[in-house]
Symmetry: C2
Subunit: 418 residues, 2 copies
């Protein structure tokens, strides 16, 4: 098999951790697999580099920011190659510009345009482990770019696609994707498989296992991604083989590769939401536009929207959510438009949480929403707003109800460990 | 003028020090000079990177060592560019591979083959400060190379040659080259000028201001090098102008540009010498070769050599020096050849110091050596070995006499501050 193995910041936090991660690589090489490795910077290192650029100048040039912060992955790629060599495994490091991994020029959040992996593939086919500095690429103008925080996941998936790898193993500090946060529900179960679509919802809703873009890319290119723990003892893990069974971690794969079909796969929650209430606005065509157009112009994303008719029948209240960090700016935008909107009152509230039920099985099972709302009502948990997609239902509740809501739904949909 | 300005590790040790160094750049830009900057890594940073590579594997691959340790200069180049921009000065960073600064493939001690400075020169001529990561280059095989410790001096001089700069200013933590070490002779004077040849002798003899290779390169390419302190207040320094007078630092230049001609320019000393005595070997042709050939084969450089006829007229003693770090290996090589050499005794001694008197004026002034030996004898300082070149005389003395010897010679040749 041709494998891409990615090690995150905690898995390369110091020389001993890199050595342990290298043992996972050795296991796969010894089993006859060809391997390309993608590495993050040592845990905490990128934060140090970012804080230096901010201290230098808060309005730093993103091209220079990229030159500075990409150095962390350069270091770990070299150290990983040295350690693999010390174990008798031929290896060499590859910087983004050496591959080259060509991105657009959106410094700090660059998108991969193409990977000319020919030289690297020849090296890998010749028995050398390619150790690629994650997170970084090179622009058409020959400047170093970075892919955004967590970008090494995207590097790994893009490499797997370019090399036509059999699988992309993401080694991290958790041993897979869980039905929900085990800190809230001790009986949460590891999911042996999850579909790309479900993983996307889990990732963007606060289960911070994989960068969202890496999942999008895996889905688009059909890359099978295995999330697993680098803290497992490398010697007792079985090497990768063709076949479907996965004893460790979580395989992120196409829906058709799913073994079991639950209606609901997981419960996610996101605390970084804020609720805005615009009270007693005139109930006439165009009033919603007068609120949402200026927010869109200010690049503020609105998520859940609820409109209530008020008692007098002539005015209405509008409730919606934005990212908590955008709340002050959103309120300011609306206050500036008070002449247009003519609300009687404007309220902001960050004491809310979005709880979501996710599962591809919902497509073919009616009644999930009704069951969900009924269970929350029984627990006296008031629903402040609702949004839905094909494979998820999200509700906004008071932050105080986070744990009760997650536990109730986790039990309700049969996710608790038996 | 087109200036190259180089800032060493202590001059970029943290964001505040980089900001202060950037003020020196601003002064030159404000005066209408075009500027390229070369930077070292933050003080201590390279040592950290080197120790990581050693911890990873003591017999590390030098190609990966270079990928790891070159990252320090990448960081400071980006930060310096950001800080210059924060002062309103257009600036961009250049990594070795971006210029490109092409070296041979002798990783860890690479030599510069060529600098294709066209893109950089256009940028500088367009009013942008080029901030170059020192110490690093790229091999013909597209791997990162480094130039050896202190290599950023060589980067700066090579840039100055490639850009045809009017001068190369080396900013460091001392304010120039002194007649001797001020810690030993408080009355040591800053030399306003020193010739390349003298600087080479000073550099290789222990005055650690400039990397030796950078001086060789400056001499070969006729680059005028100004050594000066980055700790000077940037605001009170005068900007660079055409003309000869230099109020700050030391100008390293061609002999013909020297303003005043002392017979002796400086007194250097080197503590990292070791003396080897090979006693009572047969006094016949070939015996010296039986000692020095095996040492040469083992890549051990021999410096001073003294041969004495012993009392019996048939045997002789040989004394010579090697670098202190090579002493155990050199003794072992000779012991292994005892069957050939047949010495009665072999002694090693690191309790010695080499004191040197340096000056281009010695070429035209006889009697310097006689004067030197006489003065040391008067102070009861025994000379254990002697070596000379056109512009220097070195003597080996007991380490206990270091200060006395340096002070005596400094006064003898009129170097004390008046």
């Amino acid at each position: 098999m041709l494998l891409v193995m990615k090690f995150g910041g905690t898995s390369v936090a110091d020389i001993e951790r890199i050595r342990n991660s290298a043992q996972h690589v050795k296991r796969e090489v010894d089993a006859g697999n060809r391997v390309a490795v993608a590495v993050s910077a040592m845990a905490g290192h990128t934060n140090q580099l970012v804080s230096w650029t901010r201290e230098a100048f808060p309005e730093y040039d993103p091209r220079e920011y990229d030159a500075v912060v990409s150095s962390g992955e350069q270091i770990t790629a070299g150290l990983m190659a040295i350690i693999l060599q010390s174990m008798g495994i031929p290896a060499r490091s590859w910087q983004g510009w050496q591959i080259p991994l060509v991105t657009d020029a959106s410094h700090g959040v660059a998108r991969i345009d193409r990977i000319d992996g020919q030289a690297m593939l020849e090296s890998v086919n010749g028995g050398e482990v390619a150790v690629v500095a994650g997170f970084q690429g090179v622009s058409p103008g020959n400047r170093i770019t970075t892919l955004g925080r967590g970008g090494s996941d995207t590097t790994a998936v893009a490499l797997a696609a370019a090399l036509n790898a059999d699988r992309c193993d993401i080694y991290t500090d958790v041993d897979g994707v869980y039905t929900t946060d085990p800190r809230i529900v001790p009986g949460a179960r590891r999911l042996p498989r999850i579909s790309y679509e479900e993983m996307l919802e889990m990732a963007s809703l606060g289960a911070k296992v994989l960068q969202t873009r890496s999942v999008e890319l895996a889905m688009a290119r059909g890359v099978r991604v295995q999330v697993r723990s680098s803290f497992d003892n490398p010697d007792v893990c079985e090497p990768a083989r063709a076949g479907l069974a996965e004893k460790r971690g979580t395989l992120v794969c196409d829906e058709t590769d799913m073994l079991e079909h639950h209606v609901v796969s997981g419960i996610a929650y996101a605390k970084d939401e804020a609720k805005i209430m615009v009270l007693k606005i005139e109930d006439k065509p165009g009033v919603a536009a007068s609120i949402f157009m200026p927010l869109a112009d200010a690049n503020i994303n609105v998520d859940m929207i609820v409109q209530n008719l008020s008692e007098d029948g002539r005015t209405t209240d509008l409730t919606f959510t934005v990212a908590a960090g955008e709340l002050p700016r959103a309120l300011q935008v609306l206050r500036d438009r008070q002449d247009d909107i003519r609300f009687s009152e404007l309220r902001g509230d960050t004491d809310v949480v979005k709880v979501s039920v996710i599962g591809v099985g919902m497509r073919s099972h009616a009644g999930v929403a009704a069951k969900m709302f009924h269970a929350l009502a029984e627990k006296q948990i008031n629903i402040q707003a609702i949004s839905t997609s094909e494979i998820k239902i999200s509700v906004l509740v008071s932050a105080a109800h986070t744990e009760a809501a997650v536990r109730t739904l986790h039990s309700l949909f049969g996710l608790d460990q038996s």
